[in-house]
Structure formats: structure tokens, C-alpha cells
Assembly symmetry: C2
DNA sequence: TTGTAAGCGTTATCAC
DNA sequence: GTGATAACGCTTACAA
């Protein structure tokens, strides 16, 4: 139903090859011929079919991004950054979601694969190391965000979660905090473990310790942390002076529940987050957190993946820097 | 480099047609033959090339979604809803962004078009009615979200912005508020106009009026509203008792700036939003706002677009219901 | 139930 | 500069 390159060729009285040349700018074409082609294109409202194009060139015009859930502001930010960089390569983004579930993550990968993406950036939580490794081996251009996978370190884009959380905790300790609660992510992945370890290291550096019952777990998105917040209130907020959270979303939920219970932040309890999502500076009180350079990571991940797709193995990246953002959810006395 | 359907056929000792049948489940195949094919597929780690497939069938396995900016929680929510519904049709989503700019919006549409999407859902702000109409005419399956376009009413998925904002304003008036500020969107589109008109109607229904200097404009995402908040503070917050905002993002920013200036909400000033984004119930104080059924709208938009793509013009939708959510950013006395 | 072969709409390699 | 034409990898009549 839609016009094809042949229709344009016929109307412009040239060959399909010429039309292709004009439309792609891949070779010099006589100015007049060119105009004729352009006129015919306009008249027929013709667009190259990107599928036929990809089939012929074996290079799609898309880069694939796989995240757990687009509606999580963390991923939304990452995607936006990926999109920017993809654009600079004249590529579009195709986005799939894994929804924290191994089977869905695999489907999402397969989906991306079948799209001949010239680059894949994935944030995978649920899939096993073993299965993931097999994909990584088979498709050398897949790049991982926020996950460490043995044997593929050069394709894992990461921050130093351990030290970031250690530094944040030591900042709190320096402020005089001794009794902590730590809210961990329920998902069993590297970054969560590293953050928890960093937290514990800071305590032990200062001869402090924490009872396991003060290390709680929750899903790392906000709705789920409400229950945890209530648990804390039941425990009694006088039992601790600072709550260190795996991420901003958790911290935000807890702050909200606490404020609604008349618990003052930071006067009664201090709270910290991790990521510095857009709302962290905008909620009340503004959230002391760790700046996670997710945008830079997204950009570099796309560059790396695309370079590897084009067999350029020289491009490499190093760990990204984090920074503590000192705001108002922590009592400074 | 990657295996093709022919390789699989050869290895399984069958024809390519049979392989296709097995992999697509499009026809009955002898159980043994089938297993042979599946084995061969596994051995070669073969995936159907979705481009070749689309080229042959003229139907891609994607539905296109066009939004202004994925990192806006409003759009993220919408996309998630679209994705769910698309999945139920065995379609994936391809997402492009328009970034509030006419040229970029057009590029984004063209991008989607060249992907042979079997359905397009678009949230377009910047493109002119005229250009948009020409696209709508040419591609009868494009469905618009949050925009009214003359002549295409049956393909515009909308809420009744006018009445929603009127009702919200009348609620405030009923609470005794008389002196208002209205923060409008800077973008010249229908929903913003409708909301403002609804607001004005409520005032006039109660013989109230508002000086134009109390109707301010800002970009409808949070960073930009900070300036506006400061303007309000300079004006003196004793000049008004309630601030009605075009959306939640604006409201949230203003609340934040105010709290940081020691202005109490809702004791000193009441504030309302619009949309009920995830943070609206979670910020402090929780935000009185209008529930925008964006998820339902996304779902129905996908259904409508896909139906129209398949030439089914019977599917139709009506306006979506909104609801005022009475929370704590409004003084109730 | 299975195989053959003609598309699908491009690009790219040759000639001219 | 330009034009034929063979891929690209799949689906789907049509035949067997």
C-alpha cells in the first residue's frame, strides 16, 4: 500500500539505485537527477522501509536498552542519557523491561537480540550469573550496568558502591551517630551486597556494631518500603538515631511515613538515601544521599557497547565517581 | 555470521518452510520433525530475524509510543501501561521522545513510521495542528493522548480537564479560599487552556476574580518552577491563600521552595496539583490533586490504535474519569 | 505433512 | 554518474 523505492524510481525516471543514493547520500548524484528524485519522494510521501534497509545492511538503526521498570525514575534517567548518546550516533533506542523476573529478563534480551541492535545496554537483576555469562560470551557487545560479572569486568559499568556507602556511613559516625538501622534491597545482587558491606566496614572501622534485627530488607521501590517504615515505628524510633537506606526511593517512603506519624526528620531520626534522584533535592527535608552518576554511566555504556559492536575493543571505561550530597535529612550537631 | 533459517533447515534435514512453521506455530508439523527442528535451533542458537520477518509479513511486532520525555514520571507511567497492553497483543514497544520541540517531534513520528509499527500512541505538544492533521489523515491508526484535534475526536484520548479543574477550584472556594494564584503551563496546548478555563469558571461561578498578575506560567516540569516559587515569595505569600498548579511537578517544586523558606503548608498557603504522580501521596505534606487515569488511558489508547491498524473501526473510547484526591496540602477550615 | 520458489523493499557490486 | 541485479532472511501460496 505504501510507496516503495521502485515507485519513486519510476516516477523520477531513474533506477532504484539512484534513488537509494540520493536518499542515503552515499554517492554523488547529478544535481538535477537528485531534485527529480526528491520531488518524486515528496509527491509519493515516501519513506525508506527501515526493515528492508536493516535486512540489506545487517545493521539496524537501533541500540537496545534493558531495564527493570521504566517507571522507576532511576531507570528513566538512565534511558534518557542512553538516548542522547544513541542519537549522536544516529541511532534510535529500543527499550525493553525485565520487571525483576528472570524469565521476563530473558525474554527482554531475546527481544533485543532479534532486533539486531547495534549495541545492548542491560540492567539485569534476576537472571543467574551462569545464564548471563552465556549471553555475554555469545554477544560481545552486551554491556552491563550496575552488576559485576566475573570474567566480564571490562563490560560492567559500575560505581564503587562499597566505598560510597562506607564514606557516607563514616560521615554519619563523624556526626556522632552510633545506633543505626540499615534498609537493604531485597534483591540479591552485587550492588546491594557491596553497599551493605561498605556500611558494615565503616561501623567496624569505628568499633561499632549492629544487631541483625536492625538490618531490614525491602523491595527497592517506594511503595514497598511503607511496611518497613511501620516496622521501624513499632520497634521504637528511640532505638536508633540514623537510618541508612539502600536507595532514595526507600528513604523517601520512610521519611513520608515518619512525618505522617509526627516523627521529626532529622531532629528525631536522620535518614540517608543513595542515587540522588530528581526528587531527592526537592522533597522535604531534602535528602542527604550519594550522587550516582547514572547519566554518565548510561552515556559511556552506549559508547562502549556500540564500539564493541563495531569490533572496536580498544574503547574502555573505568569506574565512575560518586559524591556525597550533604543535605537536610541528617542532623548535624 | 549468525545462523539463518536455512542453516537450521539443513541441520534438521527439512525445508525452510517447515522450520518457519515450527518456530511460528503456524501449521501442524509432525512431532518428530518438529523436535528435529527444535534441536537444530538450539544447537545453532538460532533466532528468527525480526527484520526479515517484518519485511515478509508487512507487520512488525512493535507498537510505537511517542512522549515528550521519558524521565518525566507522568510519561513513564503512561509507557508502562502501554507496554502492558502491548504485551497482551504479543507486541513490543518502541519508544521515541519529542522533547517539547516541533522538529524533534516530527523526527520522532517519522522514526516510528519507518518502523512499520502496528499502532502509534503519541503525546505531542509542539507540532502544529495543521501538520499533525496531515499525519492523522495519512495514518489512520495514530492515536493522540492529551490533545484535542478537530476532526479526529474519536482518536483523541482525553480527560475532561475543564471540569476537573473547575471542581478542584470549587472545593477550595468551599473551604473559604478567595485569593488565588494559578500556575499555568508555558506550553500552548489544549489541556493547559482547559484547566485554566475551568479554574476561571469556578471563580466566576462564585463571583470571584483574579488579577492577571496572579496567573503565572512555567514549564511543566519541576526544575523550572523554582523560579516561579521565588517570584511568589517576592510578591508576598500573604497576598493569596491558595495556589492552584497546572500539575503535580510544579506543585511539588513550589512546596519545596516554600518549606525551605519557612513557609508552612498548608497553614500559611494551600497548594494543589494535577495528575497524582507517584510522589504526590509520598511527599510532605501529601498533595491534594486530581487523579489522572493516565494508565487506563495508555492501555485504551494502545487497544484503539491496534484495532484501527487492523482496520477495525468499531472500537471506540469515551472520555476518562478523574477524581479529586483530598490530602494534606490544603487547609481545611 | 512437507517442499519449492516467489516475493517483501532495501543496499551494494558490478558493469557501462 | 547511472543502471542491472544479486543478495539480505524470512513467510506463504501452491504443489506434491
Amino acid at each position: 500500500m505504501s510507496a516503495t523505492i521502485r515507485d519513486v524510481a519510476k516516477l523520477a525516471n531513474v533506477s532504484v539505485a539512484t534513488v537509494s543514493r540520493v536518499l542515503n547520500g552515499t554517492a554523488k548524484v547529478n544535481e538535477e537527477t537528485k531534485n527529480a528524485v526528491l520531488r518524486a519522494q515528496k509527491e509519493l510521501d515516501f519513506h525508506l522501509n527501515s526493515f528492508a534497509r536493516t535486512l540489506a545492511t545487517k545493521e539496524s538503526n537501533t541500540i537496545g536498552v534493558l531495564v527493570s521498570d521504566i517507571s522507576d525514575p532511576f531507570f528513566a534517567l538512565m534511558i534518557k542519557a542512553c538516548d542522547q548518546t544513541a542519537r549522536s550516533f544516529k541511532k534510535g533506542l529500543i527499550i525493553t523491561q525485565g520487571f525483576y523476573d528472570e524469565e521476563k529478563e530473558i525474554k527482554a534480551i531475546e527481544n533485543l537480540l532479534s532486533h539486531q541492535c547495534c549495541g545492548i545496554i542491560a540492567h539485569l537483576l534476576a537472571i543467574s550469573d551462569e545464564k548471563l555469562s552465556s549471553y555475554m560470551k555469545k554477544y560481545p557487545y552486551i554491556v552491563l550496568i550496575n552488576r559485576r560479572l566475573d570474567g566480564f569486568e571490562d563490560r560492567c559499568v559500575n560505581i564503587d558502591n562499597f566505598n560510597a556507602m562506607k564514606d557516607l556511613t563514616e560521615y554519619l559516625i563523624g556526626l556522632g551517630h552510633k545506633k543505626f538501622v540499615y534498609i537493604d534491597s531485597e534483591f540479591d545482587i552485587a550492588d546491594a551486597k557491596e553497599r551493605l558491606e561498605g556500611f558494615k566496614q565503616a561501623l567496624s572501622n569505628h568499633s561499632l556494631c549492629i544487631d541483625d534485627k536492625y538490618i531490614l530488607q525491602t523491595k527497592p521501590y517506594s511503595e514497598n518500603a511503607v511496611k518497613t517504615a511501620n516496622t521501624l515505628i513499632e520497634m521504637g524510633v528511640d532505638k536508633f538515631s540514623a537510618i541508612v537506606c539502600y536507595n532514595d526511593s526507600i528513604a523517601m517512603s520512610i521519611i513520608n511515613v515518619f512525618l505522617n506519624h509526627g516523627i521529626k526528620i532529622p531532629d528525631d531520626v536522620s535518614i540517608t538515601g543513595f542515587d540522588d534522584l530528581f526528587f531527592a533535592s526537592v522533597i522535604y527535608p531534602s535528602l542527604t544521599t550519594v550522587q550516582n552518576p547514572i547519566e554518565k554511566m548510561g552515556q559511556e555504556a552506549v559508547k562502549l557497547s556500540f564500539a564493541r559492536f563495531k569490533k572496536d575493543e580498544t574503547f574502555c571505561i573505568s569506574e565512575f565517581e560518586t559524591k556525597i550530597l550533604y543535605r537536610n535529612s541528617v542532623k548535624k550537631n
